[in-house]
Structure formats: C-alpha cells, structure tokens
C-alpha cells in the first residue's frame, strides 16, 4: 500500500515536472509569501540582513522533511540576497542542518556568481536543544541589523520567543512550521503565519523551479485522492464492509 502511494507520487512528480517546464503553474494567493518577497526586497535595498531560521528539524525524523523544505527555500533566498551588502544569516537548532545550511548558502552564492561573499559564519548553529536554539537565535534578531526574519522549519512552542523577539525589534516575521503547536503559537504571535503544508510550498512560491510547482500539483492530486478514499471508506465502514 505504502509502496503504491510512493510510486504514484513519484510518477506524478515526474509528469508534472515535465509539464511545468512548459507552462508555469498558477498557484493560489498566499499573503505570507508575497510579504516575504517584499520583505526580502526591503532588506536587500535597505542594506539590512535577512535572518533565516531553519528550526531544529532532525533529518532522521519525519520532521526532517520540513528542514529539507527550508533548505530548498534558503537556496533561493541566498541567490536573491547574494549581492546584498549584508548577506543573510541562517540559524538552526540541529548540527546536521547547520552544516547543510552552510552548504546551501555556498551553493546559492556560487549559482549567483558571488561565491566570494560567502562566509561560513553566516550559517550558524545557535543551540542543540529547542530553547537553547531559540535563546541563541534571539540575539541574532537583535544584534545583526536584521529587518526580516524568515522562520521556516520544525519548531516547538519556543517559536513564540522568536516571534516575541521580532515583535520587540519591529522586524518582519514570516513563520512556518510543520509542528502544529508551533503553528498555533505563530498563528497568534506572528504577522504572517503559514499553516500546515504551506511550509512545503515555500519553494514553489519563491521560484525554486518547476519541480517544486509540480510537487504542489501532486499534493493536490493526492489530497483529493485521499479525500475520496476516506469518504468511500467511511461509507463502506458504515454499511459494515470490512477491508
């Protein structure tokens, strides 16, 4: 069953990726991503930093996918901000993720032809526990001339501390997490919270490529497949069918 789902998703991903290369996708309006683009532009133009926090998603958990999604978006943001006087700072709460963030930053600068601007210290591990990570990220928001915070990854309730710090500094905060507790906190504390799987759409909304757009279309297809299966299955269960 699981293998079938994976194979269907893989085939759809390939097909939609080829299709998206011909025609760009039309995706629904998500305010947070528009504000993100605006905030990035302002940060680059004002000579301020963009702070990207990838959370503490462990690659060995299902939440590692959120870290991978954050890295995909980081790649795009690194390219966009590569010519800025102040390159973005990337913080993370997992050691492997911090190394990957450095690699992604370097790759983004290289793709933008500004590899000489890359500094390894811009990809930082701020703590190895949830609150040590949050506590280590708060000073970055305050001391690094940050004008926009992109908090995207796996967080817990400690995300409220990041939102609080951004609010105190009057800086933009675009937050997304796959952790529903963090989402509920950010829903109340963040200016532009992203809910649920919108985190995984970040790459497509920042132009990471047709494969990211195709991923969203595959998600839509599988979404409705699951809805139909659940409705039919519930009906069959109700009539006493067993499967």
């Amino acid at each position: 069953m699981a293998l079938i789902i994976v194979i269907i998703a893989a085939l759809l991903l390939v097909a939609f990726t080829l299709l998206r290369r011909r025609s760009p996708a039309v995706l629904r309006h998500i305010e947070a991503f528009e504000r993100l683009s605006h905030a990035i532009g302002l940060a680059v133009e004002n000579g301020t930093r963009l702070h990207i926090s990838l959370g503490r998603g462990n690659l060995f958990t299902a939440r590692g996918a959120s870290a991978l999604a954050g890295l995909a978006m980081l790649r795009r943001l690194a390219e966009r901000t590569s010519v800025s006087d102040r390159p973005p700072i990337v913080t993370s709460g997992d050691a492997s993720l911090s190394i990957l963030s450095q690699d992604t930053l370097q790759a983004g600068y290289k793709a933008a032809g500004a590899e000489e601007q890359y500094r390894a210290t811009t990809g930082r591990l701020t703590g190895l526990t949830p609150f040590s990570y949050a506590a280590g990220t708060i000073p970055v928001t305050r001391d690094e001339n940050v004008s926009a915070n992109v908090v995207l990854g796996d967080f817990g309730a400690e995300a409220a501390l990041l939102a609080e710090a951004a609010d105190r500094e009057n800086t933009h905060l675009i937050a997304a997490s796959d952790n529903l507790s963090a989402q509920s906190v950010l829903y109340a504390a963040a200016q532009d919270p992203l809910i649920g799987e919108e985190l995984f759409a970040s790459g497509a909304y920042v132009g990471a490529g047709p494969s990211h757009e195709a991923s969203l279309h595959v998600q839509d297809v599988l979404r409705w497949l699951i809805i139909i299966v659940i409705l039919i299955g519930a009906l069959l269960r109700f009539v006493g069918a067993s499967f």
Binding site: S96, L100, L128, A135, I138, S181, I195, I226, I230, R237
Partner: protein, 219 residues
C-alpha cells in the same frame, strides 16, 4: 551546603535572570542565556560522545574483531570528512557524508510520513464509522468533514481570471472556507494546550523558587 541546595540556588538565580526578559532585554538575561547555550551544547556533545560515538564507533575500532571493525570504517571516514566542513576551502570533502545523511533522512521521513501518518490517519478517519453509536457517528461525521475540508483548504492549484487575479474554483473556495474554520478551531485548541503547558512551567518555576526560599528559611 549540599549539592542539591547549590543547584537549587543557582537555578533560582538563573530563573530570576530569565524572567527579567519579561521587563526587557538586558545584560543579565543575555548572560544567563549564553551560559545556558554553552552548557547545554557542551552537555549534548558529551552525551553524543559517550552514548553514540564511543559504543558505535570507537569501541568497534579498538576491538580486534574485524567483523566489528569493517562496518565502522566507512562511517569513520565519512565522519572525519565532516571535519572538513569547518574550513570553507575543503568543505566539499564533507559533502559525501552529508549526501548520505540527507539520503537516509529523506527516505526515513518519506517512509514515516506514508507508513506512520498517511495510512494510519486515513484508516482512523474511516474507522470512526465502523458500527458506530449515534454520538460516535455524529463525532465521526464532524471529524470526517474536518479532515476533508482542512485538506481541501490547502488546494494550491488555482486559475487566473480574466482580470489577472488568481483564485480557485468557487466550489474549492467554499470548501476552503469551511476548512479555515476547522483550522482556526484546531489552532485555538492547540494554542490553549500550549498555554497550559507554559503556565505549568511558570508554576513549576515559581514553586521551586518559593519552596527553596521556604526550605532556606527553615519553614
């Protein structure tokens, strides 16, 4: 003074420093935070060293058994190559280890998402209707509607209208609105849960401080 009392005193002092953040950012809070980051990171490294690297890497390496030695040679090389990440010039040497790490992590996350969430949650949504009572049936209907509408809310595909605006189908928009209601309710419940946890933490901190003061005063 016993070690527990020293620990409690230090904990009380640090708690006050952290609470000072509620008034505003200040050097005391910063000092406590940086101290905490250093200690927690050092402790995490110690735990990893003693409970992962020693039993899984160093002990097999020190053992004369080639059956134990061979399986750890590759991860040893990969792990050592990660040290190259400390120098941007030779950082590429560690990319092989990170590639393996990302590949394994992606596969683990994929299998966990499908086997651990997609299939069980979908099955659980159906099982609410197996020989249900009336109350369970009503609950199942609401949960089923919540699941379907919440999923429908995240529909990303849209169409561009003649005026250039991008919007989803009217039906999808209606379903999405219902999904937003369920999401708002879910967020409200989760928020309340997070708040009760935070309130419990505050109560625990205050309780430990007051209990220490009471014990210090001999009450």
């Amino acid at each position: 003074m016993p070690i527990e009392a020293i620990s409690a005193l230090i904990g009380l002092f640090l708690t006050l420093l952290i609470f000072s953040y509620l008034i505003g950012d200040n050097p005391l809070f910063r000092g406590a935070v940086y101290l905490f980051i250093g200690v927690s990171s050092g402790y995490a490294a110690v735990v990893v060293w003693h409970q992962v690297l020693v039993p899984k890497l160093f002990q097999p390496l020190l053992s004369a058994d080639p059956n134990q030695l061979l399986p750890v040679v590759v991860p040893l090389g990969l792990g050592v190559s990660l040290l190259a990440k400390l120098s941007p010039r030779i950082a590429w040497l560690g990319s092989f280890a990170m590639a393996m790490l990302v590949g394994v992590g992606a596969a683990t996350a994929l299998s966990g998402a499908v086997i651990g969430t997609l299939i069980p949650q979908s099955r659980a949504a159906m099982d609410m209707f197996s020989s249900p009572t009336f109350a369970r049936l009503i609950q199942g209907i609401f949960m089923l509607a919540g699941t379907a509408l919440t999923l429908a809310y995240f529909q990303f595909s849209a169409t561009r209208a003649a005026d250039g605006s991008v919007r989803r189908n009217v039906i999808f928009e209606a379903l999405a609105w219902g999904g937003r209601v369920f999401i708002a309710i879910t967020m409200g419940v989760l928020f309340a849960g997070v708040y009760t946890a935070a309130l419990t933490a505050m109560i625990e901190r205050l309780s430990s401080m007051i209990n220490f003061v009471k014990s210090f005063l001999g009450q």
